[in-house]
Symmetry: C2
Subunit: 440 residues, 2 copies
Amino acid sequence: MRLSRYFMPILKENPKEAEIVSHRLMLRAGMIRQQSQGIYSWLPLGKRVLDKVNGIIREEQNRAGAIELSMPTIQSAELWQESGRYEDYGKEMLRIKDRQDRPMLYGPTNEEMITDIFRSSVKSYKSLPLNLYHIQLKFRDEIRPRFGTMRSREFMMKDAYSFDLTQADAIHSYNKMFAAYLRTFARLGLRAIPMRADTGPIGGNHSHEFIILAETGESEVFSHKSFVDFDIPSADTDFDDVAGLQAIFDKWTSVYAATSEMHDEAAFDAIPEADRLSARGIEVGHIFYFGTKYSEPMGAKVQGPDGKEHLVHMGSYGIGPTRLVPAIIEASHDENGIIWPDSVAPFDCVIINMKAGDAACDAACDRLYAALTKAGKDVLYDDTDDRAGTKFATADLIGVPMQVIAGPRSVASGEIEIKDRKTGARETMTIEAAINKLVG
Amino acid sequence: MRLSRYFMPILKENPKEAEIVSHRLMLRAGMIRQQSQGIYSWLPLGKRVLDKVNGIIREEQNRAGAIELSMPTIQSAELWQESGRYEDYGKEMLRIKDRQDRPMLYGPTNEEMITDIFRSSVKSYKSLPLNLYHIQLKFRDEIRPRFGTMRSREFMMKDAYSFDLTQADAIHSYNKMFAAYLRTFARLGLRAIPMRADTGPIGGNHSHEFIILAETGESEVFSHKSFVDFDIPSADTDFDDVAGLQAIFDKWTSVYAATSEMHDEAAFDAIPEADRLSARGIEVGHIFYFGTKYSEPMGAKVQGPDGKEHLVHMGSYGIGPTRLVPAIIEASHDENGIIWPDSVAPFDCVIINMKAGDAACDAACDRLYAALTKAGKDVLYDDTDDRAGTKFATADLIGVPMQVIAGPRSVASGEIEIKDRKTGARETMTIEAAINKLVG
């Protein structure tokens, strides 16, 4: 992508409304724009990161056997009256009347709708286990949306819903998502700690939040420090291995970790003081097992092997992609800007033409751009006539992992410079060597 | 994907509510499910097709130089008051009050919002031309939603918006989208005819609808028959070539074609009778040039090379992916079900194990499934214990291009059968030969 043809409206000033670093950097880098209170557009640079985050979430959901569909955003109030949540949900639910004066709502979550889909089409235990997910917009009319897309009103959520014949099967489904979430966050460059959590308006009796540590986090968390040493489940994890997944769950829940709502001071004090971690964190995922809470009022039953009808046991599993993007930035930035993990970087590298219009610089950059693009790399080529200093600042701000710098002096001797955004390490090499290194 | 682990709720009976073949087949194949009037879930099989359609749309938008972002669904009423459309839009607009009692709406289109994004960040003609698009849900509260996702209330739209300094530049931007649309529909297996069209609530002075012919179409169309022979722009079309794109536009608009709203009977009658086409069609895309209709009331200006401020000339360009899926089915089906073009088929092939549980059949199918999956093919493996007749009917219904049939008799002699869904041609060959043929 040539920057001269791209749309990346960089802000030079620090936006006043941004209280936390991720919000500030996302606005400055032209990733997002507020359209109304708590409602954002994702501009092209932000959209690229969001797509990569969703891609990783999707791969790990599929690996764990979940199946993607897409439910609509506008729901009928009737469904929520069936479950009893229509009155409970309060003012966070965006309630709407359509032209026929029918009560509708913008879905804040989809337990009711997926249960309706399930009961209308699944009749036998032979179709179980089943886990259906979608990545869809949600709306929660927060009284105080803040921190950019960290707590917005219109936001994206990956929500998965599992259906099983028995509680034991449902726990296995829960463990699949538990392991999938560990893998997902690790691939996003985050170390997430699963913590026993309150079930809130979803309800249920077994729930974990996945929290990443950050000073700006809204949750207060208490845990043992040993989490940093735990192994992430590998890519060839067998998700059908009941005992294997239970062992992963047991390991990761073997030491103390809880949010303030579930905090047990006595248990925490029993940890040796040097191993105690008391910090702030950002919730990036939340999983629930809630048994028959929805299947009972909504009549979601299957015929079991005994020929009788059984209410299905359900769970739901959420990740917020539009919150994960700022969470990654909170975890990975410096005073000059964002430092993207390779897995979610909007571009793999940026070519900085220090003197656009200079024939030798243009030729070197064109050659790099063509070769790297051909090799399947996502390349941003800064071919604008901005000053070199501006270009360096922009490249640092947007946090692309590798910078390829072509200036008249080095190009004259057939060389360019490579800079690693994370370490700041610079290396001068021939264009050929740079291509080989970056295509790697 | 093993069918025993998939979610594809096939209906055996013809659903009573479906008036047209695409709606009937989408419900029967378990592609969609109605959640409320005119509001649908896309079940896994449908989601796969929708994703492939969106993938092609996205590739062709990018090829033409458009840049993807994502605007939210919920918009502030203020923006629409600025343009003057808030009152004009009538009851099709889903109007909402949030918890602070602010007037909001579910976007039926995004001219206002994109103009707002543009005016807040683009100041100079040097940033032009610019074409920004997103693929996002829209809501239009139709008084009579019908025909499944062909005319639904919540639907998906790819909407692109171009910004140019002059009318001449804007016409070039229009021609880029014109050529991109021809390529897009051709890749979807459709022959779309561009027709002069009324501009409706978008406004403007230059507009074409892209119509595919189908008996169940809602539009009455009149055209010359020669469109079938026109060349589709090639993949290496140079979208910066102003004259080249104008020539494509001129060729495709050189003969008579108009919807009933714009029909000129005298011009139509001047066509030799044998070349006249009077038929019904489905609108699958609509492009508009509307000059300064939005930039003027909303103050979207750039500084020109003359140092003065100029209102930008705009256009907008829509395609409805959730309508395209049924449109493709209307154009491609037989009495047994859907016949997907390869480019949008939910799976490349389906393996039919005629006797699941039979060791030889299972081994043959497992080998095929592993080899084809490894080669990057999307494979559905019918490993259920349904009767062979049911499996054949399902495979025909869901319209996957190639069927690989493994029965005990042929497998005993090391062979399987391949059936081409479209032609019905069957061929018996060794497993090895089948793999080679399908991996191709």
